[in-house]
Each structure stands twice: as structure tokens, then as C-alpha cells.
């Protein structure tokens, strides 16, 4: 990899230019989320004291402030509440336009924004079912003592249920 205009950065990783989160335990205490994702599971943390299930997952419960949290599975299918297609301004790393965005209802758990992949423009509409889709993203070259270890990474989007 070369970085035009900044020759000294050739081959260097820059965390501030990374699209995706850190997923190693050295850099993220909720790293199990990504391990579970690798198994096709969408999870969050549940508070053992007050039963709240905040999303995104937490180290501390935002309701009762307990740090007594456990991992729980959430549904991996959802219903589309609204969908729109971004034609102009799609950020680098998210493929060719259109980038399909949907607000989904995760079987009553939460409504949130997701990227829709494996879907043709104009195909998806409100009320349609979608399911979790996990894919590999670039690994992070992480310094471990004198070694550089490649940390594999995954991320998720949703795709139409066909």
C-alpha cells in the first residue's frame, strides 16, 4: 500500500482512517460481540441486576449503573420499517452507489439503521423481512511486543430474506 504525498506512510496502518471498529481484547472490552458475530449470532449485553438489554453492548448498565453484565443472543431477523437508497455521496468502502440503508425493527427489541447488502436497487420495501449478514473486513496489523500480529475482523449488515 502506498500513500501518495506521504511516502513515509507506505505500508503503515492508521487507526484514524479505519472504517471499522477494533475487535481485539487489547483495544475493545466488548470484543465478544465480534466473536459471536463470526458464529452468525447478533448479541448484546444484558444487565443481571435490572434485566435491561442496552444496545450497543456496554460495560456498564445505563439504567441501573451495574457492571454485572452478561451476553445474550438477539434475533437475527428483522422487518424493514423504512428504506432509502443513497445515490450521491456514498463513502469510500461501501461499494458503488446506491448504498441501501434501512431502518429495521429487530423483532421488537430495537429499531436501528443498517446497511442492506446482497440486494438490487429498488428491490426492498417497507414491511419486507431481512436477516443478519456477516462478512470479513480488513484485518488490523497490531503490534504485540516485537511482532506484528494480524487481527482478523468481521462486520455485519442485513440482507433480504429470499
Amino acid at each position: 500500500m502506498t500513500t501518495p504525498g506521504i511516502s513515509i506512510l507506505e505500508g503503515r496502518y492508521m487507526v484514524t482512517m479505519d472504517l471499522f471498529p477494533q475487535q481485539s481484547k487489547e483495544f475493545n472490552q466488548i470484543y465478544p460481540f465480534y466473536q459471536y458475530l463470526r458464529e452468525g449470532r447478533l448479541t448484546t449485553t444484558k444487565c443481571k441486576d435490572c434485566s435491561a438489554e442496552p444496545f450497543p453492548p456496554r460495560v456498564m448498565c445505563p439504567e441501573c449503573y451495574s457492571t454485572n453484565m452478561e451476553w445474550v443472543d438477539w434475533p437475527t431477523t428483522a422487518t424493514v420499517v423504512e428504506v432509502t437508497e443513497e445515490v450521491v455521496g456514498v463513502p469510500l468502502g461501501f461499494g458503488r452507489a446506491p448504498l441501501i440503508h434501512a431502518l429495521i425493527d429487530l423483532e421488537g427489541k430495537k429499531n436501528f439503521f443498517v446497511r442492506i447488502i446482497n440486494c438490487q436497487a429498488g428491490e426492498l420495501k417497507a414491511g419486507d423481512k431481512v436477516k443478519l449478514a456477516v462478512f470479513d473486513v480488513d484485518p488490523v496489523p497490531q503490534d504485540m511486543g516485537r511482532e506484528v500480529v494480524e487481527i482478523p475482523r468481521v462486520f455485519y449488515a442485513f440482507e433480504p430474506v429470499k
Binding site: 471499522f20 423504512e82 432509502t84 450521491v88 455521496g89 463513502p91 461501501f94 431502518l103 439503521f113 446497511r115
Partner: protein, 391 residues
């Protein structure tokens, strides 16, 4: 004794796709601010708050406030720091400057805000915007500074309340007509209803003129304690009457409702209460028209019209010159552009001029002015009330 706070000077650089650097624009804004009030001696400024959101990303510069102080030719002795709340950075800094003066921690504070957003390669702007929402969650789903979020809001508002694309278009036409009278604005040419309705798609249902642009530029105001303000200007005094800022969520999963903005209702209620006014008392408003649908919802949630009636309120000209509450008389974000840290300050300058009586498009007899910013994933709302008299 109660310390009242006045705005005694304000000015901005030319906004747009600019040649120059962030520090160039801060100097231009400071100069314009000094020119606005020749009685102000910049050496008397005892505090500086600088509002800038992308300074680290697009100018590779942290610790910005002392740099701006050096370039603006001032030597603050009570505060010299940067404030960041993305699109509301400028208003946040005004609130903090006001609070410092109110509490006696400073007497004369400059608030300067701005950005150099255009980079030598344009892709980086959109890429950097992924940092503006919850980067690890919404950002990694491809949401930047997000037309898609507001497209989703618009779709739901249309479905729920019958708001039409024509209502959105009215906002573009009004604000671009207003910006054409403002030489500092990014857009100097008005647009017609036909041009807006026929414009290219960005994110359905939002087309080109529904979206504010990416902008370089800066703006600055000077606040002063009333006793000193009286000796430092011949123009009518403009007071900050009350302020509020509220946040109830950040990530999309925690947005309570999409078409009613709870944090805006909270911030508005707080600001009205502290200012001892009601929504009906507002004579002129600068609201955050980052997208046309935003201004419609803001009319509702600021209490200028009933919920769901924002579209017809706008279509009836109720937030245009001569209407119930003329809004974005200087062109707003849609016309002036939006260098994040500069916007709240630009709004403050226009309200200051309206209340002094020397605005380009003067609202006759304006006594109470309001500014509003939303920021991030509609995640925080900031409301300031200005008046010809203290609260």
C-alpha cells in the same frame, strides 16, 4: 448583582468552496468582527472559545484555541479553549462564553468558529464524516453526515402527516432567495420551484436543493458584560436572555421518535423558561436547516405551529419575511453553507443584526430572536434566545 451578557460585535469570512486554510479563515472572521465594532479594542478581550469539529481530521491541528488567539491578535487571560459539538459547536461555545461572563469568570469573550472542510482529495470529506455519528456502530454501517438519516425522517413525516415534496421545496426556494442577499453566503443565486422539484436525487426523497453543502469558512462574535458593553458600542445592545442544550440519545437504536425531536422540545422549553418568553414571542429565528425537512420539524417542535402542520405553515409563508416568524433571513445552512463550528455563530450574528435593526433583510421591530442547532445523529439540540432587553 445580576450580570447581563451582550453581543457587541460579529463578523464572518466569505463562506463557500474557499481557497485558503483554516487559520486564514479565522483571521478573516476576526477582522470582520473587529470591523463591525471599531470601538472594540481586541486587546481588551479576556477570553477566547474556539468552535471547530473537524480541525484534527481536515487540518491536522489540535490545541486550536491558542493558535487562533495568536492569529487573531488577542491574549486571553481567563479562558482559551476549543469546544466541539459538531454542527452545534459554535452555539455551544456561545453558551459557555455567556456562562463565563454571567458567573463573573470573564468580562469580554470572543467566540470564533470555523472549518476548512475541503481537502485536496474530495473523497476524504465523506470518509471523515463517518466519525460524526457513533463510528463503531452507525458509522460502520455507512452513515456519515447523513442525508440518509434525514431522508428516513422525511419519509416518515410525509407518511404520518401528509407533508409533501413541495413543502420541502418551499424551504429551499426561501433560503436560497435569502442567501442571494448575503454576500458572505456560499450560494448567491436563487433557485426556482421548478429547479428544486426537478433536481437530481441524492437520497430519496431528498434531492440536491434539500441538502446543505460542504463549506469552508469561519465566523466570530464578541460577548461582553453589560456594564462594559455600554461603553464599547453605540449600536443598540443585544442581550443573551437564555440558553439550553439537550441530548436524549446518540446511536440510531436509541432514537425515541423520528418525527418529533424530543431533545429539541426539551431544549426549547428550557430556553423559553430561562428567557421568560414563549414561542409566540419570537420575532425572528435562525434554525438548523441542514436539510429542508429539518426546518419543517423545527417549526413544529419549537412551538411555532402545531405538530404535523409544519408543511402547511411553511407553504403559507408563515416562516418567510412578512410571516409569523421569519426564519433563516440570511439564507440558513441551505444558502450560507455549513462549516460546522461556524454555523451557530453565523446564526448569532444575523440575530444580533436583526435585533440591532441593521440586518440586510430586516424584520421590522424585531425584539426577540432565536437560534437553534441540531447536531450529529439528531442527537443534541441547542437553543439560544436573544433580546433587545435582558430577561
Amino acid at each position: 448583582m445580576e450580570r447581563n451578557v451582550c453581543v457587541i460585535a460579529g463578523g464572518m469570512s466569505k463562506w463557500g468552496v474557499r481557497e485558503g486554510s483554516q487559520r486564514d479563515f479565522f483571521q478573516e472572521a476576526a477582522k470582520a468582527c473587529y470591523n463591525d465594532n471599531p470601538q472594540l479594542n481586541p486587546k481588551d478581550i479576556d477570553g477566547l472559545l474556539v468552535a471547530s469539529a473537524y480541525t484534527e481530521r481536515t487540518s491536522y491541528q489540535t490545541h486550536l484555541a491558542p493558535l487562533v488567539a495568536e492569529y487573531a491578535g488577542i491574549k486571553p487571560k481567563n479562558i482559551c479553549a476549543r469546544v466541539e459539538l459538531l454542527c452545534a459547536s459554535g452555539s455551544s461555545a456561545i453558551i459557555l462564553g455567556y456562562s463565563m461572563i454571567k458567573s463573573g469568570q470573564a468580562d469580554i469573550v470572543m467566540i470564533a468558529g470555523g472549518e476548512k472542510l475541503y481537502t485536496p482529495q474530495k473523497w476524504e470529506v465523506f470518509y471523515s464524516e463517518l466519525a460524526s455519528v457513533d463510528h463503531d456502530w452507525d458509522g460502520a454501517q455507512g452513515l456519515g453526515l447523513p442525508p440518509p438519516v434525514f431522508a428516513m425522517v422525511a419519509k416518515q413525516h410525509m407518511k404520518q402527516f401528509g407533508t409533501k415534496k413541495e413543502h420541502l421545496a418551499r424551504i429551499s426556494v426561501k433560503n436560497r432567495r435569502n442567501s442571494a442577499t448575503n454576500p458572505q453566503a456560499q450560494f448567491q443565486k436563487p433557485v426556482t420551484m421548478e429547479e428544486v422539484m426537478g433536481a437530481k436525487m441524492i437520497v430519496e426523497p431528498l434531492t440536491l436543493f434539500d441538502c446543505c453543502p460542504i463549506t469552508d469558512g469561519a465566523a466570530a462574535v464578541v460577548l461582553a458584560v453589560e456594564e462594559k458593553a455600554k461603553t464599547m458600542t453605540d449600536k443598540p445592545l443585544v442581550y443573551i436572555r437564555g440558553t439550553a442544550q439537550a441530548s436524549v440519545n446518540n446511536m440510531s437504536a436509541n432514537m425515541p421518535t423520528w418525527t418529533t425531536w424530543e431533545a429539541l422540545k426539551i431544549a426549547a422549553a428550557q430556553a423559553y423558561r430561562k428567557s421568560k418568553i414563549e414561542a409566540k414571542d419570537v420575532d425572528v429565528a435562525m434554525t438548523h436547516d441542514c436539510f429542508t425537512i429539518s426546518e419543517i420539524i423545527e417549526m413544529e417542535d419549537l412551538g411555532f405551529c402545531k405538530k404535523g402542520e409544519g408543511g402547511s405553515f411553511v407553504a403559507d409563508g408563515q416562516n418567510d419575511l412578512g410571516g409569523r416568524v421569519p426564519t433563516n433571513t440570511d439564507g440558513g445552512l441551505l444558502g450560507c453553507g455549513h462549516p460546522f463550528g461556524g454555523t451557530g455563530i453565523r446564526q448569532g450574528i444575523e440575530v444580533m443584526k436583526q435585533l440591532r435593526g441593521d440586518a440586510t433583510q430586516q424584520v421590522p421591530g424585531a425584539k426577540i430572536g432565536l437560534t437553534h442547532n441540531l447536531s450529529g445523529f439528531i442527537a443534541a439540540h441547542t437553543v439560544l434566545i436573544y433580546g433587545r432587553e435582558a430577561a
